[in-house]
Amino acid sequence: MTAIDQASAALTAPPRLLALRRFARDFARRPSAMAGLAILVIVTVLALTAPLFIHASDLDVINAPGQPIAPPSARFPLGTDYAGRSILTLLVWGSRPSLAIAVISTALTMVFGSSIGLLAGHYGGITSRVLMAITDWFIALPTLPLAIGLAAALGQGDTSITIAIAVTSWPGTARLIRAQTLAVEARPFIERARALGARDGQLVLRQVLPNVSPFILVSATLTVAGAILTETTLAFLGLGNPTDVSWGSMINQAFFQGAVSAGAWWYILPPGIAIVIVALGFTLIGRAVENILNPRMAR
């Protein structure tokens, strides 16, 4: 009886919309997923609206309003930095480059990693062997030295960091998408499409890509989390844009401008906690989506 019900339900609504609705319901049922989503919504809204309540003068090193490295007070709830700027203001503003770099580098990673994965999975044979050998080589390479080398060679700045992150994080996506492509291509509807005369390009873009796209989403959320950590690490090492404020550069300034010897916990704690919370938010969502799509992967 239920099988018939499901079949008739599938007839009334387009199957992809139905799957999406079921996915949303599963997602909303998980407290960790909703917590992750809440974190991201709050942080994104703050980052996007920051220019409305933070002015360039608040970020100016020369005419900062407060005393350098002053503890929290009524005027500066999180104290001040080495130049006398409000840490709270810097913290909100610092989310912008960190998030932007993480999201853009993740987009690059997804485009490149998924293309490699789809190509390797679809064509198989020597193409797959060569592409996967390169992928495995990049997976084995230590991430940070490679990212440091790239960022240093390209010169200080946001573009270099974005490229460095994309170059070091695509292999995981390529592997995942190749595995999923193989799984999808083993299913009968691909054979049907081929029998109807679909060419390679049509097969990959119209049949395989929509079916692997949920896994691209999983990979993207987990990659963003990693990208934020790498971005802040590179900025901490001094590779960030020197004129901008980011969480990594805040920790860099705190460390190199005497917050440690001053015991200025209000300077050191907030950017690190912000990094952990945002990375955690993306990780929670990624794991939840992963569990919904493939309950066996969770363990």
Binding site: P142, P145, I148, L222, G226, T233, I251, A254, V260, T283
Partner: protein, 355 residues
Amino acid sequence: MSSTAAPLSARSLSALEAPPGGGASGARDFAHYLARKLAAAVVSFAMLLVVGFVIFSLMPSDPVEALTRGHPTSAKQIAFLVKQLGLNQPVWERFGHFVVNTLEGHLGYSWQFETPVATLILQRLWPTLLLMGSSTIVSILIGMWLGIHSGWRPGKLLDRAATGTAITFWSVPTYWLGILLLVLFSTGFGVIPPLFPAGGMSTPGTVGGWAPAHILDVARHLVLPSLTLVLVVFAQYQMIMRSSMIDEMGNPYLLTARAKGLRDAEVRQKHAVPNALLPSVTLIFLQVGTMIGGAITVETVYSWPGLGYLTFQALQIPDLPLLEGTFIVFSASVIVFNLLADLAYRHLDPRVRRS
């Protein structure tokens, strides 16, 4: 689990894939396996040289400009530098020189120290080995112990506490944790007195060598950087050990061991643990890449005079030959350790040999 879970699982999976063994027996089979793995390592190293050359020699727009930044330079001097750096030669010739030089151990001259890069790397090698070695050993001991006990009784208090702690430390940026520990235990915070030195490897002005006082001094300097690395790294050993303990749990040989009348601790230590150890042992070799990343930031925070701090110093200029040298040494060591992981796995798991 944190974001680092993804590369971890991918890496450990690719290492644990059973290499297809031949049907022949014993030594010949092993020689064949060794030759194949060695060839793969050589190919990896060749690719490393290509990527290193592209990043450090082709990508920087103008090395001469980087070298002469801030100095008044005449056209003649620039022409001399271009010739000296070999920039007027075709790319293939430059790559050829680079490969020959690297294989001979000539990694170029550091711009800021004006010393051969190879000499600098050799000087800084021992502190890094000391830091990474000691923190690896401690992480393994803590991670394995916690993994064994939490995997044996999954879902119990110890498991939940240990797993929660591990995941928390795992998702914290290493350098930030290092700074926090520095403020807590070196500057002194609240009731905590300044317990440990803030940086370096020994107190300036003390005599080096193998004097007991000096060894103690180095050990005191080692505590905080090691602790930082251990806190970030032990989770990986714990999680792998925990999951392989859980995998062993359902096996009938444990039932046999219990039926013989062995106590629970004996069943765990003598029967379950040896089998569960396998994946973790290989992981030790595969963690080198992660440890290197941690070492760069931790050595920076504690000004520990190793390769990581050298990388940071090189970054400040940026001193490209020095960065290139450390990049090649770091990556080559990962290739070597991956090779060792393959060999160790085959040696430890007879099933791989027979398959």
